[in-house]
Symmetry: C3
Subunit: 281 residues, 3 copies
């Protein structure tokens, strides 16, 4: 069997833990190709872990193994699993909601609970706080290196039982508006992205060159409400101007050309942050 | 043809975008060796992108492919190009000034505009904001993996047309001083570096052990003006003392031994920051 | 001879210097497997460099080459060396205390001073501030790629002469308490770790489910003093509650479940920070 690439994502930040995970993988097979997804997922934010996976997973080859470790319940009774997606990739993760979006948008063919009697780093049973190293990296490396087959991960369980987190779904409302959630607000460039597919705008009559009304609310309190131009890219408006455009994943985004929308308006993200867009009069 | 190393630099920070770029490269050829240059170039700062490239490019083998993505004009009318340097390396970048220093200090043998009909990620034409993934990574990976030759990048254009950004050049002034610019002020260690070659000091009589007068100004306002020792390394002065020394690229630098010159004196960098040095009386 | 993995750790932060180190290694041998340990060791903190090495080194294969560059004395008279550990790994580092823990806890079989006439990047003799690139990366890559043998690093010297830094050792005190030092306080997750082996607690009667009294002092001034539960993992206490548990390296740790103990109580780390634990009455 051929060897698969390994991609790691965690909420560990710029520390030392990731190197221990890579050590375990490299020890399983020194020829594995190991890549970093990101290690800057907001701490304990399982829904963002799910979103991050959706961001880059589709660009990786069909037989790639992803390790996702955002694991606030480490050492307690949540399942550790490997999911095989309909698109062919594998995701190794605590089954705590990190699979929400891949389950709903890509599909899970089969899911197996990791058998820790076999697929856990030897002599690590008394460590209760770093399954990212001892369980997920070890099991994922064995799968990617073809030391074990997917069937040898452990017993299958029902895909229906895979944990899904609730979130505000994008919805076309009868009055010509679309609502959804702010699913990322990235301080580095100040880009706000939503879970509203950009193509939906055209379907209800909002096109490049139009102006649109954007409203953002946090726990039902409106924190931003403006009319903005709908454009193809940053440079179509003047430096410092705000615009609505499409993210690279083809969702609705708001940005300031060479400015920072997120810090300027103090915007956060997650299920508490709702987004509404409608054609301006 | 043999496969070349790929080195990526961006202003994307510690986020998720770089992983999507690597996904595209790995999908072109899973055997490519992909390295991170840095992803912490100041946002939108094309001249620093150019300087960063000069910092490490000379240490890479002659046949290495660099991807540089600092691209405030993404999606607008600037060329996307691949330059082949006189030293043999390739640079894949928007032609927006990022080639300024390699053009002037190393030389560009030939430059070609990327033909996006061929060298753009299939099915990405409707994405206008992430050419780092869809154009630069895809094209660079194909070149590095020898899927295409340099000639197959796209049509050549005149090296004279490659965009250069204006900046204060290092100059020996008649009165025994040398002027230049602060081209980096790195908060992490607090090191200030300039574009003045360190060997110029000796040529006009400033040697290790001498004291020199340093003046730094921002938009013609002097913000620092002191007499400092000229030393070989940090440890030649006491902890907490300021010194002038040579950077690892052999330019003039100012630092505090185990302190932070940049944050203590609030020094910035770029074309607005001028640097003057002369022998102290 | 077979090629060995290279793992790099520095205090360089998220900058451009690491890429120049990798360029040197890749130029020695493009087939080397190069990994990042961490580049976020506290600046100039040699003891933490030593601790970081102990954190992940045991998980790497016996024949791995580590480069450790925390080098406040760069360019002055400290030895540059390669140590071969009793466990088989090599560490390439300035001999400034970075070997303290591996010497004491793993053991050094043999240590050699780097002969810079041979094992220094050609034409770098006039650069006095970046031995991480010019000496350590170049020498380590040659060793990992089997261009040189360990004997060809340079002359051996006495392991007894390897520099050790003094620090507060973990000690069982007669009155039923254990003292030691805070050896890390990681802001990202707010975890505090000590150098007290977790198994020592049980040896003097502190077991999971007990309550213990923790006292933390900085330069002999008590900054934290509380009774806390002793638990297996974060989720055994309510969100926001503080607990004592075992780190993944099996040392005593303090944390707040999904909170940040370090920033909430403003805890630092290093030899100035003492830690005491005893059974609560």
């Amino acid at each position: 069997m051929k060897k698969l690439a390994l991609v790691m994502q965690t909420d560990f930040g710029p520390g030392i833990a990731v190197c221990a995970m890579k050590a375990v993988c490299h020890s399983v097979d020194p020829d594995l190709k190991i890549y970093d997804g990101t290690h800057h997922i907001r701490q304990f934010d399982v829904l963002t872990a799910s979103d991050t996976l959706m961001y880059y997973l589709p660009y990786w080859p069909k037989e790639t193994v992803f390790i996702s470790v955002v694991d606030p319940g480490v050492g307690t009774k949540r399942r550790s699993c490997v999911a095989r997606l309909t698109s062919g990739q594998y995701v190794v993760t605590p089954d705590n909601g990190a699979l929400t979006y891949v389950k709903q948008e890509i599909g899970i063919d089969e899911v197996r609970e990791i058998d820790e009697r076999v697929n856990r780093l030897p002599d690590s049973q008394n460590v209760h706080i770093f399954h990212g190293r001892d369980v997920y990296s070890y099991c994922a490396a064995r799968l990617a290196a073809a030391v074990i087959t997917f069937e040898q991960v452990g017993p299958a369980y029902s895909v229906e039982d895979v944990v899904e987190i609730d979130f505000p779904r994008p919805t076309v409302v009868g009055d010509g508006s679309i609502t959804g959630m702010v699913n990322h607000a990235y301080e580095h460039f100040g880009l706000l992205s939503t879970n509203i597919p950009f193509v939906w705008l055209a379907e209800i009559g909002m096109n490049y060159g139009d102006t649109v009304k954007v409203s953002i609310s946090h726990r039902d309190k409106v924190v931003y409400d403006r009319v903005l131009p709908l454009a193809r890219t940053f440079g179509e408006v003047a430096v410092g101007e705000t615009l609505v455009l499409s993210t690279e994943t083809r969702a609705v985004m708001v940005a300031i050309n060479q400015g920072n929308f997120v810090t300027e308006h103090n915007i956060g993200y997650g299920a508490d942050w709702k987004f509404e867009i409608r054609k301006a009069d």
